[in-house]
Amino acid sequence: MIQISLKKKLRAANGAIQLDVDIEIEQGTLITLYGNSGAGKTSILRMIAGLLLPEKGMIVVNTKTWLDTGKGVSLKPQQRKSGFVFQDYALFPNMTVKENLMYALEKGQDKAIVHELISIIGLEDLQHRKPEELSGGQKQRVALARALVRKPDILMLDEPLSALDIQMRSLLQDYILKVHKEFSLTTILVSHDIGEVIKMSDKIFIIDEGKITRQGTPIEVFSNKQVSGKFQFVGEILSIDKEDVVYIVTILIGVNIVKIVAVESEIHSMRVGDKVMVASKAFNPLLQKIN
């Protein structure tokens, strides 16, 4: 169990906000901090890692106190066993892929973990390359692997996929889920992509202006209460075309494009680029094995 309670005045782009959050995380779960930019999500991660100090706060990780301003306890970033994947990767440019991972080893730690991680992220062929020779997705995988070398108590991912194209994103989401399960990690993900959040998280905290406005499982938080659908997906509207009396809405779900028939009353508030939920409840979907 990880308990986090943080208070701090933050200077954001649009004036000062008072950050005030309480978060509880079950061990082994993946939670998401979701919200607009400037809401304080990255600051929360930085405070957990010890890179930023709150005015008041408490962080207890599996009975170990990392921070307790009331008692004047504040562990240095070095003493907190956390893994941090930065938005722009922050790989060490002077080191190769393998050296970046080796650097993260603790004194006396078995080097086998480095080889294991390199094979998990599938970069055996590129392990002797410098970061500048890698693509964005490859760099991100290295950053993820590097954060795991120390077997952190918390893994933090700060919008790890925002700079990648949609296919690479989907691939990396799978990598993250894979290592999250394989290393039984407790993971905090910052994201503002609804599809990603729903796909990945066990629990979501929606943050607005430094406060948690809603929390719960993805379905609890995002789905409309009237829907009790048997299956549902979130996608983005690519186009809305009028055809005779109905409208054809083209929606991107993950990497698939689907077309859905809608009537005027359904689409009157929808625009291209909107996030929508596609759900069905009236009939049973067919399930067929494909290989």
Binding site: L51, Q78, R80, G83, F86, A90, Y103
Partner: protein
């Protein structure tokens, strides 16, 4: 032609550069990352030799280190160090005079690094010292090279401050730039020309190498 002034010049430049490197890395690190307001004052002091006539620095050093004054007599009586009109004094004066040429490139090297690589290193459990030597310094190699070469070349080119504090003692404080002046005074234009040509060529080559390395030309040729 007497080679001693040239040898002395390079000995002075080498020692000065080494001392400067040891001092400047921590100083530049502090200047690049500190949030204390006193930083501005320190920055100003470091930059002073860029605009101050060398004679001013030389003059004050001469006064301060003179055995007739308390600090100078303390050095001589208690520590047995005599700094004026000696090689040690030249090194001290050169270090102060060339300080900005070493500190500025290293400081901007640190400042231009992505601050997140430092944070990434801390989160990985590495101390400040490990981070400095394994991550920061290797990533500012061009800045270090620029600093080393500029400080070296600038020390070779020193004249006023050396003359004030060191005088013109053959084998001890008579460096090449002073030898040139000396030869011209005695109308030995041939000797003056030899010294000058050597200094000219060497500094040209040194700077050329720096620009080639930092411009990445050598890497491209090797590949």
């Amino acid at each position: 032609m007497d080679w001693q002034p040239l040898l002395l010049t390079f000995k002075l430049a080498l020692i000065t550069t080494f001392v400067l490197l040891v001092i400047s890395v921590p100083l530049a690190y502090w200047l690049a990352y500190t949030k204390y307001r006193i930083k501005t004052i320190v920055e100003t002091l470091v930059s002073m030799p860029l605009v101050l006539p060398p004679t001013v620095l030389g003059f004050y050093l001469l006064i301060a280190l003179s055995p007739a004054n308390s600090f100078g007599s303390f050095l001589t009586d208690w520590l047995g160090i005599k700094l004026i009109f000696s090689f040690g004094g030249l090194v001290l004066a050169s270090v102060m005079y060339s300080l900005p040429f070493m500190v500025h490139p290293i400081q901007s090297g640190f400042a231009n690094l992505n601050p997140q690589i430092t944070e990434a290193s801390y989160v990985l459990g590495k101390s400040r010292a490990t981070t400095l030597f394994k991550v920061l310094l290797p990533n500012i190699k061009p800045a270090l090279l620029t600093g080393v070469v500029l400080a070296f070349a600038h020390t070779i080119g020193e004249f006023g401050v050396v003359l004030m504090i060191g005088g013109n003692i053959p084998g001890k404080t008579k460096v090449a730039s002073i030898a040139i002046y000396d030869e011209v005074e005695s109308l030995n234009y041939h000797n003056a020309n030899s010294y000058s040509l050597i200094l000219f060529t060497i500094t040209f080559i040194i700077l050329l190498v720096v620009y080639l390395v930092n411009g990445g030309y050598l890497k491209r040729v090797w590949k």
